[in-house]
Structure formats: C-alpha cells, structure tokens
Symmetry: C2
Subunit: 107 residues, 2 copies
C-alpha cells in the first residue's frame, strides 16, 4: 500500500495481572482495535488510512490510548463509542477531537 494520509495506533499492550501501571489490554484495547477495524472495513477507509496495534506509547494513566500520526495527537480513555467520533472528526474531517485529548503533561 502507499503511504496513508493518517496512521492510527491503538495501544494493545498487555501486562501481568496486578501490574502497577495496569495495561491497555485490560482496558479493552482489543475491543477498540476491533471497532476501528470493523468501521475501516464497513466504511471503506483502508488504503486512505492505516490502523496498527501497538505496544506501550506512554499515557498509561490515561485509560485506553490511541495515537494518530503524522499530527502526533494522543487520545485517552477511548471507549468503543468514541471510535466513530475519531473517524468522523479527526480522520475524515481533519479536526482534532478536543474532548478526548490527553493532558499536555502526558503528551
């Protein structure tokens, strides 16, 4: 494939149960990845955009994190319900979803 317009990384990092930093896998990282994948498929977004699961990207205290390049915008506490907003507003509308952005000291 050619270089995508935007590249979505979803944290799916796993850590042993009870680890002090927790992990995005516990926070349903896989579900968010699946939700993005399903919407990419249904809405014909593959090719124009790219979706990749990723290990730790920081932001471990910010719930499930999603990072989008080339802008380098990190979203935190992302739920399945937020996936449509990220696609509609950020990917297709080129407008960052302010309410989901992590604090500036986190990223």
């Amino acid at each position: 494939m050619a270089r995508p317009e935007k590249h979505v990384f979803v944290c799916t990092q796993s850590r042993p149960p009870g680890h002090p930093r927790g992990s995005c896998a516990e926070k349903a990282g896989g579900d968010i990845m699946g939700e993005f994948g399903q919407q990419f498929e249904q809405r014909g977004l593959w090719g124009r955009f790219l979706l990749t699961s990723a290990g730790c990207m920081g932001g471990c205290d910010s719930g499930l994190v999603v990072l989008i390049y080339p802008e380098g915008v990190m979203y935190g506490n992302v739920s399945k319900e937020d996936v449509s907003a990220i696609i509609d507003e950020h990917l297709l509308g080129d407008k960052q979803v302010e309410r989901l952005k992590v604090a500036p000291e986190v990223w």
Copy 2:
C-alpha cells in the same frame, strides 16, 4: 512523559508458520526491538525519543520494517547493524538514511 521529538515503531507482527506474507517476528523483529531498546538505554535517549513495538504497518515484502514519525519514513530490511545508523543519522542527525528506505510504491 512529554511528547517525543521522534517516535520509532518497530514491527514485531507474528503470524502462523508458513503464512504467505511471513512476519516481522520471523525476521527477528524482537531482536531489532531489543537492539533499539539497549541503545536507547545506553545512550540516554529515553524521554527525547520514544520506541514502541507495533503490529503490521505494511511493507511485508520489505523485510523487517521500522517506521519513524512524525516524518513518516519507513525503513526496510533493517538488521541489528543498521540500528546505530538509524539512531545516529535519523534520530540525532535529523537526516534520513536513504539506503534503508523502502521503495516509494511500498510506502
């Protein structure tokens, strides 16, 4: 941590043995990740730069791939010996390693 100057993604995708697309895990993805990690540690690069393992980013016919944002530059057929060059030239020198870049039709 604060937002890094550059973010290095190393493909560590695994696939079942015999899969037609192969996988970066077979191509020693873990070793490259380990080599970056060791050099980040020894050279005090954490904080300024970020290193993350990643699932498939495309370029599956280009050997082990490494993708660096925000530039969005993909390197292919990366060996352990190439890691120093990527750090010295690209991360620290801000100069892309032309000999390692994948073909334009790949990325």
